[in-house]
Symmetry: C2
Subunit: 231 residues, 2 copies
DNA sequence: GAGAAGGGTGAGCCCCACCTCACCCGTGTC
DNA sequence: GACACGGGTGAGGTGGGGCTCACCCTTCTC
């Protein structure tokens, strides 16, 4: 194994108490190096430019739009994003990962799993929490979240399906698909399916959770279960 | 001023990251002494009995029933309770304080304000966050929260008003009041207005927030604004 | 020009939470 | 016995969010 250089981590601004815990956790791990803390989300591009951190941990609740994740991953593909949200639901995580995030974790995640996620993300693996709340429970930033139906339409738009094809797949009318698409565009701040089709981070998917250490890699089919693997 | 003995603080179990931050914050304050950490809510009575801490900081999200707060404050009046919730609403905080909690703070509260709240609570002051989310946003444990109307009925029940009097005050029928009362009893785990009328913690109300240090004491009328000041 | 997309508006429907009220019953108090 | 209270059940009404679909328009591409 070559010389171990520490993984550089940038920390966004979090709630004060959680930020303290997060910083202390990461600084106490010899394999990790904090290069920035309490970075306001508006300053993330600058910090990414200056430090090119391997991993950045962001507050999903501080995202004004989910599309921010998308923009960051496109602009700075070398920096893997880990999103911390308030008990995120499965679909919320799916949306964040579809936009290029490398991990989506609840703020109640065990410290050990947070560290695991950092190492996994730095190796270009994507991390999905095991114990996400089922479906109900609108959390995250609360606003501008895709509905269940919109979340079904999104991946089909991302892979370039036509409205008619989507309508056929979902067994609804074309007009309905167009309505969902409009809603998605508005919420995500884009104006066409082409803008949605950017290259999300690739990589295997791992699942972490309290029971123990990360398991074996999951088959690629699991990536496609939540949303298609890309155009 | 007499010899300064540190204020003893018990910490309930929190999300791992937040718990780290909270513990580190409090342990770094020379005026505070942590006597217990990561206390499961089921073990709170035991810990209160053993250490009789001046202040205990609890996770509002871990409360099975809001009535737990009430029971703890009645059983252990010497221990002041500080509740941390996920962006609590005004009515949530009002309910918690009505049940004897000394403070209700968001988990995004500034460290400085958390320390302030501990000191204020230990001096039998009640602390209300300044920047609470308006009305919408069901957070907290999510379940068994009083509705807006129930929250209006509760204080009137607590001061022993009859159903007819409440009906008159709220301009609704007696049957409606009885329905609200039933709902309140069920959610709070009590079975009469007498059980609701127990002695909540008394004390002045302070408001804390980011702008600066705590202001002057608020007039008692402010206590009565959210709910009557007791029988 | 035809067809697909994107953008705006609005309608109808369903589900759910909340509010309101009306019954039923039993108990305790005066 | 009259009355208030607690407990159970259910019926309406209302409001919001989501899903579905139907129009209207412009733009772009082939």
């Amino acid at each position: 194994m070559p010389l171990k250089t520490p993984i550089t981590v940038a920390l966004a601004r979090f709630e004060d108490l959680l930020g303290r815990g997060l910083r202390q956790l990461i600084e106490s791990d010899p394999g990790l190096e904090v290069v920035a803390t309490e970075v306001d989300h508006s300053r993330l591009p600058v910090v990414f430019q200056a430090h090119a951190p391997d991993v950045a941990i962001l507050d999903a609740g501080a995202l004004a739009r989910l599309a921010e994740v998308r923009e960051l991953t496109i602009e700075h593909p070398a920096t893997k994003l880990i999103l911390l949200a308030n008990s995120p639901s499965m679909s919320e995580c799916a949306q964040l990962l579809a936009f290029g995030a490398s991990a989506c974790l609840g703020k109640d995640t065990q410290s050990r799993d947070v560290l695991n996620a950092i190492y996994l993300a730095s190796r270009n693996l994507r991390v999905f929490p095991r114990a996400v709340s089922a479906e109900p429970g609108p959390s995250l930033s609360g606003q501008e979240l895709l509905t269940r139906r919109e979340a079904e339409v999104l991946p089909l738009l991302q892979i370039g399906r036509s409205n008619a094809q989507i309508a056929l797949a979902l067994q609804v009318g074309v007009e309905t698909v167009r309505t969902h698409a409009r809603s998605i565009y508005r919420k995500l701040g884009v104006s066409s399916r082409r803008e949605l089709a950017g290259p999300p981070a690739r990589g295997l998917l791992r699942e972490i959770g309290s029971p123990g250490l990360p398991q074996q890699d999951l088959p690629p089919s699991l990536i496609a279960r939540g949303w298609p693997a890309g155009a």
